[in-house]
């Protein structure tokens, strides 16, 4: 039975990982209580927040999701000293994520590249990083379930699917979305250089409704919010979970995970928005707060039995923080590409992420960003002082003839890339997370000798008259590594089911468990791991 204070399974976080696990447990007959730090809002509110934001800051997703005082998340207008994320190191681990019911899939692009078998064996094949504790064949069936659960569309032509190595046991539930004219032209150009720009597998309804959500109609606003929910986001599942019996607490910030004498998890405690503390008990606990909040919470929960923090006998909690460092080439062309027709990301060159070179440097994945360009070019055109027809023509030209080509890189797990608790505190008095980050020589070398040379060749083939390259790596907002998976309790946090090595009734699924990043977006793998966890939890609960 579920009450406001207890349930069979207590899930902290209402993002895609928590939601997928919750539904499977509810279907198996278990009571589920979910706790969300932030608010629950309507889609219309998010859409209007974004539409009402000034044109010059529409690229900042946080304008659509103002954080609540009790549940801070990164906001684009923060001064470094006041920021929620306290950052140090050669590279900035500046992330965007949101503490809202539904989590950060509110503003993901929906991109869903699977890992390759090779991505999971970096140490064995290339002598770098870590091998996963499971292999691709083990993960494959969970990928299929993820693709059906989220509604991920993709090509039926095996030659256009990713990965090319490794099996695929079932087709995508929907066909690939068509390319826009610009993407079609980009694909032709890539082909002329010997690269295959293939349709991205994406959690977006292609030509048909799916899971009670409508077909994508090309609003070109997947980031920061799909206005019609044609793109999967976890918010779309919350009502269904409630109908199945889930209890959802919002504006409730879990600040402590409590252990008992057997070192099992006994309860979690949370603050409400009035700073009053409450305690929730359960038989089994799932931390699904995201790859940054999970390690923060574990470190905050240290006790006499767990002096380094809960689940942290390995001292690996908060270490190995990873992402996909990206460099953007903003290209000005003679011929129009007209970004901004269809979804915002619809294709990619993935084969450049693979190869024996990975013993020397990182791979990279290239994508043509299909965001409408008006918001990027309007002020630049206005600053030229043009008026009348000349102004109209310049805005039109710059919108049509500029494009962003992004190179997203892999990074290696490095224990020195570490999240710790800052001595600065938030509105509730809880420590802010501090992250020290360096993308590392492996990734920097890729940019020098591999990714940027390829990117420049692509730009040249596009007929670029000007190319501007980001001066530093930006983050892709794919938070990975902080509760890393492994077979050995001495050097990893969770086992192959994302169960804590230290606490048999604590599961920490999601991106934090990923032992390598590869180059493709992480959510599909996070969800595959979540479904694997859910299977294990159902089995464990049956034993209980």
């Amino acid at each position: 039975m579920v009450t406001k204070n207890s349930a069979d399974v207590v899930i902290v976080g209402t993002g895609v990982v928590g939601v997928v696990i919750a539904e499977q447990l509810l279907d198996a007959g278990h009571s589920v209580l979910m706790i969300e730090a932030g608010p629950r809002v309507t889609r219309a509110e998010v859409v209007e927040n974004w539409r009402n934001a000034p044109l010059g800051v529409k690229g900042d997703t946080s304008v659509a999701y103002p954080s609540r005082p009790w549940a801070p998340h990164p906001m684009g207008n923060e001064k470094p000293e006041d920021a929620y994320l306290q950052l140090s190191g050669p590279d900035s681990y500046a992330q965007t994520f949101i503490r809202y019911a539904g989590g950060s899939t509110w503003h993901w692009a929906g991109t869903s590249w699977r890992l390759t078998p090779e991505d999971m064996r970096l140490k064995s094949l290339y002598g770098v990083g870590r091998d996963w504790a499971i292999d691709y064949d083990t993960l494959e069936s969970y990928y299929v379930r993820t693709e059906n659960k989220l509604g991920i569309c993709g090509p039926s032509d095996r030659g256009l699917q990713w990965p090319q190595t490794g099996a695929r046991s079932a087709p995508y539930p929907m066909p690939a979305l068509p390319f826009s004219p610009g993407e079609t032209r980009f694909t032709e150009i890539a082909k002329s250089l010997g690269y295959n720009n293939i349709p991205v597998a994406q959690a977006r309804n292609s030509g048909m409704p799916y899971d009670g959500r409508p077909a994508c109609c090309g609003n070109n606003n997947c980031v920061p919010v799909c206005p019609v929910a044609a793109k999967y986001d976890a918010e779309t599942a919350l009502h269904r979970l409630e109908k199945k019996g889930a209890t959802l607490l919002v504006d409730s910030v879990v600040y402590k995970v409590e252990t008992n004498a057997q070192n099992k998890i006994e309860a979690v405690s949370y603050y409400d928005q009035h700073k009053e503390s409450h305690r929730i008990t359960g038989k089994l606990f799932v931390l699904a707060c995201n790859g940054l909040e999970n390690p923060k919470l574990l470190l905050m929960s240290k006790d006499d039995r767990n002096p380094n923090g809960v689940a942290n006998s390995s001292d690996q909690v908060g270490r190995n923080m990873m992402d996909h460092p990206q460099l953007t080439l903003t290209v000005t062309t003679k011929e129009p590409f007209w970004s901004g027709v269809g979804p915002v990301v619809n294709s990619g060159i993935m084969e450049t992420s693979q190869g024996s070179f990975r013993s020397e440097h990182a791979g990279a994945y290239f994508r043509y960003n299909n965001f409408a360009r008006n918001r990027f070019v309007t002020f630049a055109a206005l600053k030229k002082g043009l008026v009348g027809k000349a102004l109209d023509e310049e805005i039109r030209r710059m919108t049509a003839c500029t494009a962003d080509v992004v190179a997203a890189h892999e990074v290696l797990p490095d224990p020195n890339n570490r999240l710790t608790l800052s001595d600065k505190t938030d509105w509730l008095g809880l420590p802010k997370p501090h992250i020290h980050y360096d993308v590392g020589e492996y990734t920097r070398r890729s940019a020098e000798v591999y990714s940027l040379p390829i990117g420049k060749r692509i730009a040249e083939a596009m007929g670029a008259t000007d190319v501007k390259i980001s001066p530093k790596f930006n983050q892709s907002k794919h938070i990975m590594g902080g509760t890393i998976m492994g077979n050995e309790a001495s050097n990893s946090v969770v086992d192959v089911d994302c169960r804590s090595h230290d606490h048999e009734n604590l599961f920490i699924p999601g991106g934090g468990a990923m032992a390598s990043t590869a180059c493709g977006n992480s959510t599909i793998t996070m969800v595959a791991l979540a479904i694997k966890s859910a299977d294990a939890i159902v089995e464990q609960m049956r034993g209980a």
């Binding site: 044109l55 010059g56 390319f179 007209w338 901004g340 027709v341």
Partner: protein
Amino acid sequence: MTRQPKDLNGTLMMSRRGILLGGATLFAGSIAASLCPTLALAAVDAGTQGQFMKLSNLLIQHQLNPAVGARIVDMASGEYKNLAQMLDAIIAIAEKKNAAQVEDFFADIPDGELKDFAHWVISAWYSGCSSEKRNAAVFTYEEALTFRTTSDVVTIPSYGLSGPNLWTRPNVPLSAPMPRF
């Protein structure tokens, strides 16, 4: 549902993207957008409003929504103490040249306060905002003229202009006619 001020024949019409959007959620959202909650309109006298629209129509040879103009002039009245004089001065320059379009008189506006103000007015209509900055006032999103210059091709983000999987089509050359707006 979103409405556009007037079609080319002068008839009030429902926008195509408004029809495509449908749905109660977006209906509510579009109404909220049209109310533009970031701005609370203060009183600007009708004469100043009229002069502002007159100037705007001299600076920009496109259909301009007076409701958006009211938001811009309201902001301008707080920012520019000599707003009325500047409106009169620029209009007088245009009239002296018998200007039919901005190209006929813009070069005659003296550099400095008057020309800066003229650029600001143009920028406000094209960007829908008072500036590029984070704290800019928003006058309009969907009616910002920047989107009209590309309305034959590019989606105004969050307002789809095609339909399910209907965005494949030949690329439009730069030589294609500018949309009329």
